[in-house]
């Protein structure tokens, strides 16, 4: 039997998280154990994710690394994992961000045992969703993330807003997932196939009417987690309230989980519904892009800028989905990866700045580049990705999206480009005001350089976005092979 590599990747963090909770909390050297275990798990998962990514056969396409076992045969539920070209990229991105989350939280003082344990649960949840080929199992892992998210925000978050932000985020996301759950059950009973197997359900051939009724519910339910307007307001509040590693995971990976599930369940199972409603998604997503960018522009809080930039960038992913054509979907897939890494990098650096300056007010920051050049360079790189500069992964992602949307609605492309221009403006403004200029009086003597682990994290994330940007062939063919399958379901091209 082949080594069950995906299951291993999903359950390793889960088991490690449980082991962590079982370890005694009060020993002197125990913190080293906690973070050591988390680090090992993070590295092992990343290595496996790389193995899966590079051994995925793009020439064959389709779902690979399949593993299947009966779970609840009465209801047609099975444990069924596998990856296609799109999810293999998501799994890799998830593993990268989980590992960087561990590295960035290396020196956490408050209850490290619980922190790393919940972080690993979150990792298990996202990897589980990305590789689920069973609808029940997808929800199982999806909702597994509820309590780690909440507890991590309220226990280690920003004291002033953590209770509000954590509760808001958790309720929004749970609301989305419950609504989507009802839709998923309707899909199950509507298909008459008595199976939760996504591959079977793809072929169920739902009536057009059924698809039109249920598509909005399922899509919006998941897209709440993707930050779709007008259900996006949890994102900035939640991201700002969360501790650095959790912001990285939430904005970097969890938002992709939402978008990914919206694609996998809503668009792929109900393609006619998607065609019928694509104009609405396009409209909402365009508001996301422009409105998110405009709000980011006027923020005075460093972290809120990045929080709203996530809303804006996720809008591009959703625009890509709504085009329902090859370029748009390819771009959306690339953007999910690119934004995941980029926003993790952003939040990591915001966290480093806050840890030193103890303020996130842009007006009281400045001149940090001299003291923490690595962070400055990393931020600029993330900013360039975010603006869609050629040579960085953002360009490879955003260009196809705009090519795709031009074919279906040129005016959206024009408005969307406006969003990119605003993005450029606020990124440049923030870079100038935070990293250049003079160090304010209040910060003199407080700012030290970042640790070598932080530098490792920044370099790792930066190198990935540059590598993808310079060599799109590393990723585009893989994602394309996943998109091909979606296009077949959409019935054309």
């Amino acid at each position: 039997m082949r080594f069950p590599i995906l299951s291993f990747m999903i359950f390793l963090p889960l088991v490690a998280g449980l082991v962590l909770l079982a370890l005694p909390a009060n020993l002197r050297s125990s913190k080293n154990w906690f973070r050591g275990i988390a680090l090992v798990v993070g590295i092992v998962d990343l290595v496996f994710a790389l193995m899966v990514y590079f051994t995925y056969r793009t020439d064959q396409g389709g779902y690979q690394f399949l593993e299947r076992a009966a779970w609840v045969p009465q209801l047609g539920i099975s444990y069924y994992v596998g990856v296609d070209g799109l999810s293999v990229a998501m799994v890799l991105m998830g593993a990268i961000v989980v590992l960087s989350g561990v590295l960035i939280s290396w020196n956490i003082e408050e209850r490290p045992r619980e922190f790393f344990s919940y972080l690993l649960f979150l990792g298990s949840s996202v990897l589980g969703v990305f590789s689920s080929l069973d609808l029940f199992q997808l929800f199982f892992f999806f909702e597994l993330a509820v309590f780690p998210k909440y507890l991590m925000i309220v226990m280690w978050g920003y004291p002033k807003t953590r209770e509000y932000g954590g509760m808001k985020l958790t309720l929004y996301l749970f609301a989305g997932s419950m609504i989507a759950l009802v839709g998923a059950l309707a899909i199950y009973f509507g298909s008459g196939l008595k199976t939760f197997d996504l591959l079977e359900l793809e072929k169920a051939g739902f009536t057009t009417n059924f698809q039109r009724i249920w598509f909005p519910l399922v899509f919006l339910g998941f897209a709440v987690l993707g930050g779709i307007f007008p259900f996006h307001s949890w994102a900035p509040d939640g991201h700002v309230a969360a501790p650095t590693a959790v912001s990285m995971l939430l904005a970097g990976v969890e938002m992709k989980v939402g978008a990914f599930a919206a694609l996998r369940v809503a668009i792929m199972l109900l393609p006619d519904g998607a065609k019928y409603w694509s104009w609405a998604i396009l409209a909402l997503a365009t508001i996301n892009v422009v409105y998110g960018a405009l709000i980011a522009m006027v923020q005075r809080d460093f972290k809120y800028v990045i929080g709203f930039s996530s809303v804006s960038h996720m809008g591009l992913v959703l625009i890509g989905f709504a085009t329902l054509n090859n370029q748009g979907l390819l771009g959306a897939g690339m953007q999910m990866f690119s934004h995941g890494i980029m926003t993790a990098l952003f939040f990591a650096i915001v966290g480093m700045v806050y840890d030193r300056a103890h303020t996130r007010d842009i007006d009281s920051l400045g001149g940090l580049f001299r003291f923490m050049p690595w962070a400055g360079v990393g931020f600029i790189i993330a900013g360039l990705v975010s603006m869609g500069m050629p040579g960085f992964s953002g360009f490879i992602a955003e260009l196809p999206i705009f090519m795709g949307v031009w074919q279906v609605a040129p005016w959206v492309a024009v408005i969307g480009i406006l969003g990119v221009v605003i993005t450029t403006a606020y990124i440049l403004l923030v870079v100038r005001r935070v990293f250049f200029g003079d160090l304010p009086e209040g910060l003199k003597g407080k700012i030290s350089d970042i640790s070598w682990l932080d530098k490792v994290t920044i370099s790792m994330l930066s190198m990935i976005v540059i590598a993808i940007g310079c060599f799109p062939a590393l990723m585009a063919p893989v994602v394309q092979s996943g998109i091909d399958h979606v296009l077949v379901l959409l019935g054309g091209f």
Binding site: Q74, L75, L151, T170, V182
Partner: protein, 487 residues
């Protein structure tokens, strides 16, 4: 319909667990009288051992055959539903006893355990009854000991109030129910549910009268399951009663109400199922909404759990309203998961309440520092109640929503989903208090005794197993769900 009447020997074996319960109750009382100065743990241990023996006997000998059997002159029907609910009640009683074994005041009282056993005896009979008179007798056998148990702490005004309130409500609702039964007898000349269905089938009674009968009957069951609008007793009774009794009330007693509700509706009134399905759906919607909304602002954890249990009754009623095998199985699965979950929750409440002398939510601040294990158990119960994966509650919710959608009650499924969101709020507030908030004395450890640990570990394992290894338990529930009646 297949009516098969067993021989006396077979009939005696079939009610072996019930016989065992009565003997055990007598034994506990007698031992308590003879040996006055027994150590605290003694009576509880005796009861636990006795219940384990009874559980074993029930599993080994009192299994129903492939076909349901009528026993004792058709007042009882041994089928999968009765069998599984009996096991459920016995497990509930077992855990409740474990959680009282070390309780200083209760452990000296033989009558406490005896009453608990008699009440369990009544529940088991309720699950088996096939005759309305048997239903009523079993109903009272279940309730009367519970009135006493709720008011057991005679030095505590709240407990006494709780007992009296529970008794008044119980007396009124069971009288109304009995009135409904008398109507049924008057119309049909029989009290046997399974013959009733045939008599009512001819169309002798006008639909409106039938509706009135169903309404009268549902009052009694609605009280037992604490569904809106018969829920007013629940918060006060749970708050005043000893925590372990409150746990028992909210789980085993509720399950007993459900089994008889499902049986009476399905068996006696199959031809008006569309009507009662709507009625149950309305009760379900009202229970979920009112339970959850009132729970949002509770500051006392026992009251919070009481309102949560009203809302949980609403979710379970979704399964009943669906009127299908899947619906019944879903309700039963939910009840099983809920039993272990809520018993564990009340057990933790009992420990903390005893140690800190308070059931206010504020007293739980810093619990995760005082005793991480206990905090973890409480977190598991809250997550299971909220329907988060890895715990049985998730599967239960999924199944009831699924049943509703299958039965074209999509509005009810959506309402249930919306209510889960509401409910998550107050469950998360509990988590926030135990994990985030500090109390001045949170370095002071809080310990719990051995039987408590055993009970809690059993509950948590049960919750996780119900939430992950789903298939076998679902088969059980489906067997039980299909056994009530003819589909």
């Amino acid at each position: 319909m297949n009516i098969e009447i067993a021989s006396t020997g077979r009939a005696l074996v079939a009610i072996l667990p019930e016989i065992g319960l009565v003997i055990l109750a007598g034994l506990v009382l007698a031992v308590d009288l003879i040996w006055r100065s027994h150590p605290c743990r003694f009576l509880g241990t005796l009861t636990v051992i006795g219940l384990l023996v009874i559980l074993g006997l029930g599993l080994a000998f009192s299994r129903p055959g492939p076909e349901p059997q009528f026993i004792w002159g058709q007042v009882m029907r041994l089928d999968q539903a009765g069998f599984i609910f009996r096991l459920l009640f016995l497990s509930g009683a077992l855990l409740t006893v474990l959680f009282t074994t070390e309780s200083e005041f209760l452990c000296q009282r033989g009558e406490f355990f005896a009453l608990l056993l008699i009440s369990t005896f009544g529940m088991c009979l309720l699950a088996l009854s096939a005759d309305l008179i048997m239903v009523y007798l079993a109903f009272e056998t279940t309730s009367i000991p519970l009135y006493v148990l709720a008011g057991f702490l005679v030095m505590n005004n709240k407990s006494v109030e709780s007992g009296i309130k529970y008794m008044l409500f119980g007396a009124v609702t069971s009288t109304v129910m009995l009135f409904g039964f008398s109507w049924i007898y008057g119309f049909t000349g029989t009290t046997n549910m399974y013959q009733l269905a045939e008599k009512l089938h001819i169309g002798a009674i006008s639909p409106s009268l039938m509706g009135a009968v169903i309404l009268l009957v549902i009052v009694g069951f609605g009280f037992k399951i604490s569904s809106v609008p018969f829920h007013f007793w629940a918060p006060d009774v749970y708050e005043g009663a000893p925590s372990s009794v409150a746990g028992f009330l909210s789980t085993a007693s509720k399950a007993a109400g459900f089994v008889v509700l499902i049986r009476v509706l399905l068996v006696a009134f199959p031809q008006v199922s569309t009507a009662w399905s709507v009625l149950v759906a309305v009760l379900s919607a009202a229970s979920m909404l009112i339970g959850n909304f009132l729970a949002l602002s509770q500051k006392n954890i026992k009251r919070l759990l009481a309102y949560s249990s009203i809302a949980q009754a609403g979710y379970i009623l979704i399964g009943v309203a669906s009127d299908s095998i899947l619906g019944n199985s879903a309700a039963i699965y939910y009840l099983i998961a809920y039993l272990f979950t809520n018993l564990a929750a009340f057990a933790v409440v009992g420990v903390v309440g005893k140690a800190l002398g308070s059931d206010e939510l504020d007293a739980y601040a810093g619990l995760s520092r005082r005793n991480p294990g206990m905090a973890l158990v409480l977190m598991s119960t809250m997550l299971s109640l909220a329907g988060i994966p890895f715990f049985g509650g998730f599967v239960g919710k999924l199944l009831v929503f699924g049943a509703a959608i299958q039965a074209n009650l999509t509005w009810l499924a959506i309402l249930g989903a919306v209510n889960s969101i509401l409910a998550l709020y107050y469950y998360l507030v509990v988590l926030k208090v135990i994990y985030l908030y500090r109390s001045p004395n949170d370095q002071q450890p809080l310990s719990f005794s051995f039987p408590w640990k055993v009970g809690l570990v059993v509950c948590v394992i049960a919750m996780v197993v119900l939430g992950t290894v789903i298939a076998p338990w679902l088969s059980w529930s489906s067997l039980a769900g299909a056994a009530f009646s003819i589909y």
